[in-house]
Symmetry: C2
Subunit: 438 residues, 2 copies
């Protein structure tokens, strides 16, 4: 049979990785897919550099719209990134009747609903395993592996940069800024690290996972997003003393009031498997009502891990592309005409447990004032830690863990406590998740 012909939009890190995985494992891949899968056209800004990557056999064009409309192409792989021209290209590819494989989480989180509608209309597939968890087949697990289940919640380390930074802070006892610089030097963080460290990248990925898990549209604008840039070494150490690790988690949860969608630093019990995921690795825990908790772990970024997911999509599309669209796995795991309109729960209504660190002046009555405010708001304390201040120091840290309570009450408590004259700094509040399969 004639090989499946692939057009590659973008021949950078992941594009180069995709090309070389397809070439290196050509034999193995065709034994699986039943057909060869070959990159025939590539589009890149710098054609000379692209030529060095793909060799003489691939046609190269500088106009990506030319590639997208080419009649020699069965599948378009979009690896340009961003939500600008990438969106136009993906829509143009769909319009031209091409299947699309993309690693672009920002695009799907922001414009996925429009893109999937267009694809549905044209009867083409848009595959996006590489958009979440790099090479970890988490999209497939959610869309196909766990179809028996009513998914209850997902909690995931879905950004390698921030996990690397938190691991290094803990391991080496270094501060956030220092470790961020190291991460940039090692290539784990971008020159402008905002998307990663402020949780935006994780929020994109969480948006996609929530849509697949609950059969809801993409709702990126409703994700509560808080990054790691304010975390201190002290918090990491206090968390350890309480038996916890701090991870940046993407969390989505079905509750009676709506679906939680939130990204923030989180205390996780140290004995949980996911608490022990270190460095730039990703791991996602999915809790289904039948299967219980399951975990998926692997490299969340990098040329070849991401290429692994892109090529898996190419094989899936190859296997399915002549089959009747009726029988394909729905883009969002659920039939497009049967999505749910379950609302997203406002952050103020989220209930969970909390860690607080309060830096106070070491005066009599401080603790009484604080605990009175907490009690008035029905926030009950599960554990507390206060040490003698070091010789000559006036300030002391009070850290505590609370039982389950509403975010809104916590916000009010923080406001009132911060108004006390003995507070020496802003209160640090970190949410706790037990991820215990219940």
């Amino acid at each position: 049979m004639k090989p499946i012909q692939v057009g590659l939009l973008g021949i950078g890190t992941v594009g180069g990785g995709t090309f070389s995985v397809l070439r290196r494992n050509r034999e193995e891949i065709s034994r699986r897919a039943g057909r060869e899968i070959v990159v025939t056209v590539g589009a890149a800004r710098n054609l000379d550099r692209a030529r060095k990557v793909v060799g003489p056999e691939v046609s190269l064009v500088s106009d990506p719209f030319e590639l997208v409309r080419s009649t020699d192409i069965d599948i378009v792989v979009e690896l340009i990134g961003g939500t600008g021209v990438a969106k136009d290209l993906v829509l143009a590819a769909i319009e031209a009747g091409k299947h699309v494989v993309t690693a672009n989480k920002a695009l799907l989180a922001n414009h996925g609903n429009e893109i999937f509608r267009a694809a549905q209309r044209k009867g083409v597939m848009v595959a996006f395993e590489a958009a979440v968890g790099g090479g970890v087949p988490i999209i497939k697990a959610l869309r196909e592996g766990l179809t028996a289940n009513r998914i209850e919640w997902i909690g995931g380390i879905i950004n390698g940069t921030t996990n690397f930074i938190l691991s290094e802070m803990r391991d080496k006892g270094a501060g956030f800024d220092e470790v961020l610089q190291e991460a940039q030097r090692l290539g784990y963080a971008e020159a402008d690290p905002t998307f990663d460290i402020e949780g935006i990248d994780a929020a994109h990925k969480l948006t996609i996972m929530a849509a697949l898990a609950f059969g809801i549209p993409m709702q990126f604008d409703k994700v509560y997003t808080e990054g790691i840039s304010k975390l201190t070494l002290e918090d990491i150490r206090y968390a350890e003393e309480f038996g916890y690790r701090i991870k940046l988690l993407g969390i989505t949860k079905r509750t009676s009031g709506g679906i939680e969608l939130r990204v923030h630093p989180t205390l996780i019990p140290r004995r949980r498997l996911i608490a022990n995921v270190e460095g730039a690795m990703n791991a996602i825990v999915v809790k289904g009502d039948a299967v219980g908790p399951t975990l998926y772990y692997g490299a969340g970024a990098g040329a070849e891990p991401t290429a692994s997911a892109v090529v898996a999509d190419l094989v899936d599309v190859t296997r399915m592309h002549t089959a009747d669209p009726q029988h394909r796995v729905p883009h969002l795991a659920f039939r497009a005409d049967r999505l749910s309109d379950t609302p997203i729960l406002p952050m103020a209504d989220v209930e969970t447990c909390y860690y607080f660190r309060m830096r106070v002046l070491d005066r009599p009555g401080v603790l009484a004032d604080i605990t009175r405010i907490l009690a008035d708001l029905s926030i009950s304390i599960e554990a507390m830690l206060q040490r003698e201040p070091p010789q000559g120091e006036e300030q002391v840290d009070i850290t505590m863990l609370t039982h389950r309570t509403r975010e809104e009450n916590v916000n009010r408590a923080i406001e009132r406590i911060e108004a006390l004259p003995v507070l020496a700094a802003k209160i640090m509040r970190i949410r706790i998740e037990s991820l215990d399969g219940k």
Copy 2:
């Protein structure tokens, strides 16, 4: 559209779980599959008990062959187990043109080649996600999620009973027999626990994973299989002192000389994620050349976790059953006409690192004799531990870790050392795997 009609062979633990998951999540499942999936006929030995499980709406028959040939059934779910009548039933179902979903690892490991040939001939699917790792979608990951990769190795905790026993021994400092009895009391181990504790169940599952990973036929008879019944608490403690955990692993690895297929207790560095998988849970590490190491974790047994995998297969078959057989995922991940005849490496040729515990009489020159024998066989020692014998004791344990060496040399060394007059007991030898992604 008319619901997909399922016939259930066996209405025990997993059969009951499958029935109740299908019923409880009917709405969610049909939103995903695009059709309802309904159990219409069941076959059971005890019809009264079965009736209590499935209620009045399901037809019950006592002759399973009647079910298999029923024209009212689209898919047969085989949950009888074993390799006797289950084999005849699966072949009869295929012959009758039915798709088959089975959780029966023993059947597939022993007769999979014949069953898949028959299914290929009749153009029907045989799905078996539940055969390995319970509810963990590991079959899907291997067949579809990692298709880009040349799989290099798999190492998995694929038997919950033995992992429970090893976890309890370490946690509670109890001996094997005591913990086995506890496991039996809790329902984690069968009255006759041989299949689990001697590694046979794990060998079945490993056979299936190796076939999918490497595109080779099922070769259960070539698996080297060693259980956990000889492990002692001392070994678990010495392993900890060296920084390792002992787990029963199923290991399959591609080497230049052939494919390794082995199940045995294994020392794993304690810092690996999989070393921290406790209790009856399963976890499988798959190393692909592009993606690197990935890990899949969840409940490996139990009514609903297993049902989760059975129902996922039902959804897959529902989505694909009217599609052209050409486009289905091949049973063994690779096209049936393109399987590989790579040989299985004999155990004697396997190379790995080893842990030894030697109980010797505390005499001068013992260590010199032992290390001489090891050196003669080119076995080099990486670490060693010997303590003063307790007051009044004549015997002392020497434990050591070796660098990589061939199993054959280790066998010879053990034979020669055991012939020394100072040896007070048989040598304990446990293989080591670093599972470090290299």
